[in-house]
Every structure is written in C-alpha cells, then in structure tokens.
Symmetry: C2
Subunit: 322 residues, 2 copies
C-alpha cells in the first residue's frame, strides 16, 4: 500500500480544469497498488480513480495499457475506463508524473476465495482473452521465460541467504524451462497478474478486473497458469484441485483449450511460479530503506514450484481427458 | 499514511448487516491518518468513512470523541457524523478493533494556506468552541503542561543526538512554562490538533473539520495558539503576522478574547510549540523498524519556539490593543 507522490490541491484543481467532470469535491490517497499512486477522486459528476504512474511503469507502455482498457470496456469487459479530458486525451501530467483518471469500479476483493469465485474468474479470464482478440497494439512480456535468467543473475549471489540451496534449485529449474518452454500455443493479450486483489466481486458475482499494468502479449494458457498459482493454493500451501478444476472448466466454457495447451499446463505453472519467485526474491533482496511496501515472501513460490514439479499431466489440475 | 488492520470482506459484510446502509459495494483503505486505519466505504446508500481504532487511541476515550462529533454536528458544525447501526449504537467491533462508520465529508486540505484560509479557520475554531459549550462529557488533556516533563524525561538522554544542546534548551523552557503557565483562562472543549490536513475547504469555503482524536477540555486560547503554530509559519519557518492577525481577528468576530487570553498568547504559543516538539522528538527517537509513517521533524518546533520566546506581547501576533 502506498501513495508515493503527494498531489497539491492547487495542482489538482488546475489539472481538473481540463476535464468536464465538474468541481473538485474530494481527493484521498488510497492504500492500494504497489506500482503507482492512486487517489479516490470525488467531483460533481461522481467518483473516479486518479492514478499517477511511478517509475516502475514505463511511460512508453501507457498507450498500450490505456488503449487496452478502452478496448476491453467497449467489448463489454468490466474494467476501469480511462476518462478523456476535453481535448479527447486521457493520458496527462500531474505533479511531474504521467496521470490518468479512470472510472470507479464497485466491488470487493475476496480474501479467502471459494470454488465459485475461481469459476467466475475462469470465465472472466477467457472472456478477456477473447475480447482483446482484435486489439491492435502489442506489448512484449517483459517477464517472459527469456527474461527470468537475467533477473536470476541479479540475485543469484544472495539467493542462498533466503533459503540454503535456493540458487542451485532455481538454476536447475531455469535449465529445464528454457529447454522445454512451449512457444507455439495460442497467444494474444493476457492480464499476467490476475491475483485476488485485482478481481472485484459484488456478493458472488464477479464485478470487474483491475490493474492491467502487467498486461502483454503472451500465450493464453500462461495466464491461466498464473491464476492456478494465485487462486488455487490454500493458506497452508496445499493445492486445492477442486478450485483448479472449477477455474479451468469455467475458462473452457468460454474458450476451450487445445490438447497442446492442456498438456502444457504443468510446465506453464512451473514457469509462472518461477516468474513470481524471481520478482519477489529480487524485491526481497533489494528492499530500500524506508520502503512503504513490505516485500512478499519469495518462498511461497518455491513451495508452489515444488508442487508443480511433481505434476505429470493436466489431470493434476483436475482436467479430464477430452 | 497507513492502514494497520486489514478488513476481510466476509467480516465486513457481517459488520454491515447490523446497519441500514444497504449492500456493500466497495471498501478501500485510505492513506490518511497516522493514529487509526481508515477506509472509504461505498454502500447502496452512499459513501462513508470506516475507522478502526488502533492502539494509540484509548478505547475509554471513544464515547467522548463520538459524542462530541454528534454534539457538534447537531449544533451546525460541519464534522464527520457517527452513523449508528440498527440498534442505535455507533461504536462497534470489527477485525478485533473498535470501529465506527462516520459520514463522508467533502473537501480538500490546503497544502499552502493563504491569509483567507486562516481567517476561515479562525471563525470555525471559535464556532466549534462555542458549540461544544454544553457538551457534558469531559476528557482531560493528556498532553497538557503537566505531562510535558514526563514525556521529556523519556527522550532527555538522546535529545542532544538530534541537535546539540537540545536537552538543556527544553529543560529551561519547561522550567519557565511550569512556573508561568496560565490556569484560569476560559476553558471548554478544544480540538488540540487543528493542522491544515484536518481542515477541509471547497474552493475558498471551509467545508469541515475532521480528526477530533486529540480533543479534550483545556483553555480555548491554547487551541488558538496551536493553530498559530500550525498555520502561520511559512515553509522557511518565517512567521507570517498577516495570517496570524487574520486568524485571531476572525476568531474574535465569533468569540472575543479577554485581555488575559490575549496577554497569554505568547506563553500559550511557547507551550504549544513544546507539546509538538516533544511528541515529535519522542516519535523521532522511537520510530519502530518497518514503520509505515515517516516521523515529522522535531526541529521545526524548536524554531517556532525560539520565535515565540522573543515575542513580548500579543502585538507580536498582530493583535491590536482593544
């Protein structure tokens, strides 16, 4: 949770003067999001979210992210919609940062997801993959298989300080993944970070997806593998195959998986584990003094990876042979 | 800025079931307030603030704080109004903490106050003092003159590590204050922490006062002295006598000061400086590892104190002889 940039009231009033939102009534920093500063904005016309992009987001990527939100919204996906100023431009500057106002999305994220939440997630994920089909901008996955080793090299020396033997364990896994990573599965725009705090529910209904700032072009089934990790392990790190089956089955009711995609699930889940293991390990080892954000435990993803290493086929995730 | 306690979605739904606010639509942690955890709550019936009281607030004081807000609101002071649940009780429990829902107050706090803001503050402060006149609960000022020395003793040994000679400087000032502190000025309920971030404006109109969690019974003019410190020094620590005059003059249009109160302003301002100097010094020296809040600089209040030590009478604050 963090607000990295303070927005002065007079700067904000000047900023809002370019919009047709009415008078500024309130603006409060929100303790959510670790990449950007977010504010709950109240104007005559309603409530909005104001986001200031901090240095971890590449400014060159913003047209992709904002264009994607507009595209998905147009296709009926419930996600934040960028609000353009009077000149038609949504991406602007405030307090020395790129800034955008998006629509306020109701919903609560679920701390302890149940099987029906995983099912709702599955169909929403597939619908998002399909809706983004004709989106014309592209963004490479900056955290894909080929980028894991360079990231690993930055923390290799100190990895064993987190858990003895960790450096060797990751090195061997990277050897396996680089040799066997699938490259020809159906691909398109994926969310790439669909953790529970990025999925809103109203009662039992999924009400929206947020935080598309890792979205990129990659293989669809990899997105599903990220969700398997983020949603189907219990707090004690046990794998809940009932949730996995519900997630994948609901996904397939909207977008059926090919045999190749199903068979790739174990290796994709291993890769997804390594991706979050490495970014968490890097953050863990490089947390700056006075950091506002507590780094997440990388070892959680070591345990998930060990689970996937023992899975021999898609039936390990509750997927029946077609 | 901080949210110390995470509220689980299911706990929150159970909590809200006791109210007549309609369905829960959204709940976001707010990066404001250093004493409590605050959330922006959206329900069918509108937006609210949900506050969870953390350990720095004494639970026994909560009936005073909440009763005061209700009392002031009834008297026409714009401040958050506690919302009672269906059983008529506003103070409840959530996630193991005392919790209350209050009305959402529009307004922005002013980062760089101008003279007219100080004037608006002055009349609002006096109106608050008068409105609280017939409030029957009492709360002693836990940070009054008699409590400064015990607080000082907790940081005396390390005070010189912040600025050489600081311990001796504070000790001498405490000797002076304890010998000369006024005790018979008009008294009642004061806010005691009316810094700019606790005063909301809509355009140039003061729209509300918030954060009454230091409110207590003490001498009215001491509250004015706290505001002189919080509002009338510029960023370079120079004293802006025009703002001070506007603040005090506007206060007096609502509640005229007695000759004794006017004459006491210099010593009250010295005391107000020591009070914030000491709490900041204590926080500075005892900031815990992993703190979410950056401690404020105690030396700012050393400089303010030095200014007030040179003021010989109320004319030093722009007050003309009556």
């Amino acid at each position: 949770m963090a607000v990295y940039t303070d927005v002065e009231d007079t700067d904000l009033e000047r900023f809002l003067a370019d919009y047709d939102l009415g008078e500024l009534l309130s603006c409060k920093g929100i303790a959510e999001g670790v990449e950007n500063s977010n504010f709950l904005l109240h104007a005559d016309s309603g409530f909005y979210i104001l986001t200031l992009y901090e240095k971890r987001v590449q400014e060159a990527d913003l047209p992709f992210f904002l264009g994607l939100l507009e595209h998905l919204h147009k296709k009926g996906i419930s996600c934040p919609l960028p609000v353009a100023a009077r000149d038609g431009v949504a991406l602007r500057q405030l307090s020395g940062r790129p800034a955008v106002i998006v629509s306020f999305l109701d919903g609560i994220w679920v701390r302890r997801s149940k099987t029906h939440h995983c099912a709702a997630l599955g169909s929403a994920l597939a619908a998002m993959h399909q809706a983004a089909g004709d989106f014309t901008l592209r963004r490479e996955n900056a955290l894909s298989c080929s980028s894991w080793r360079p990231l690993f090299e930055k923390c290799r020396d100190r990895a064993d300080s987190v858990e003895p033997g960790l450096a060797g364990f990751i090195a061997a896994e990277l050897d396996f993944l680089e040799a066997n990573w699938p490259r020809d599965l159906p691909a398109g725009v994926i969310h790439a970070d669909l953790f529970p705090d990025n999925v809103f529910f109203l009662k039992d209904r999924l009400s929206g997806l947020i935080d598309f700032y890792f979205a990129c072009n990659d293989q669809f089934a990899y997105d599903l593998a990220i969700c398997l990790n983020a949603w189907c392990f219990e707090a004690d790190n046990s794998f809940n195959i009932t949730k996995a089956r519900a997630l994948i089955h609901a996904y397939e009711t909207v977008r059926p998986l090919s045999r190749e995609e199903r068979n790739a699930l174990p290796i994709l889940a291993r890769g997804a584990s390594v991706r979050f293991l490495l970014t968490r390990l890097y953050d863990w080892l490089t947390v700056p003094d006075g950091a506002l954000v507590t780094p997440k435990d990388p070892l959680e993803y070591v345990r998930k990876l060990r689970f996937h290493q023992r899975v021999v086929g898609p039936e390990g995730y509750g997927v029946d042979d077609p």
